[in-house]
């Protein structure tokens, strides 16, 4: 079998970073992280089905420092991937390709993902 001669994917280490390339790879990484977050939700529901004792243990883990850190990270990853995905969908219907627009929408995605994470946590934990 001959080795595949297709060009390789971008070598991320040798490119100068732009907001668009940063968001592009971050979108992918966040997508993979979201897969892990779904697996966490899967185990969340498994523990719920295992009865009260097991579920209380799970809650203890999720409310520990590390647990909260992971959950906040997952919330950010979900917010970022979803917002960045909406940006991609706009490109798919042909809007926002100008470099300036793409840079601005990229910055908006980054800032909004953090704001959304904060709002989710403040509202969800009953802090506001």
């Amino acid at each position: 079998m001959t080795e595949n001669q297709n060009p390789l994917s971008p070598h991320l280490q040798i490119y100068r970073w732009h907001i668009s390339s940063l968001l592009s790879i971050a979108h992918r990484i966040a997508g993979v992280v979201n897969l892990f977050s779904l697996i966490l939700i899967f185990f969340w529901l498994i523990f719920l089905s295992l009865g009260e004792g097991n579920y209380e243990l799970f809650l203890l883990a999720i409310n520990s420092f590390v647990g909260k850190f992971i959950l906040i990270g997952f919330t950010w990853s979900m917010s970022f991937h979803t917002l960045s995905g909406i940006r991609h969908l706009f490109w798919d219907i042909g809007y926002g390709f100008e470099i300036k627009t793409a840079n601005i929408s990229g910055i908006i995605v980054i800032i909004s993902s953090f704001i959304l994470t904060i709002i989710f946590w403040l509202l969800g934990r009953g802090l506001i």
Binding site: S9, G31, N34, E52, E56, I62, M78, G124, R125
Partner: protein, 107 residues
Amino acid sequence: MNETKKWALHRVSAIILAPLFFWVYFSLILLSTKNYQEAIYFFENLVFRILIIALFFIAFFHAKISLNEIFEDYIHNKKIKDVANILALILCIIIPLIILILFIYII
């Protein structure tokens, strides 16, 4: 499934997932402060049950197409790529199915 159809279905699933993901994350953060009884009570709502099952099926469908793309880009050995794709397919079928069974028979 041809590539155009995959591309379109990937976008359709993304559009459905965006609101679902916001809902499920907000619910999870809320549930992390509640006890077992309240969590069970939360999932007694039929709409919520259907939404979470739908989320799992659609999200893992979306993930399957995405994983194929990622493997295509980063794995250059065809054999390893095929194995990775099969493992991804198994994962993306089994997890939603377990969730479905869980909600029908246990929770």
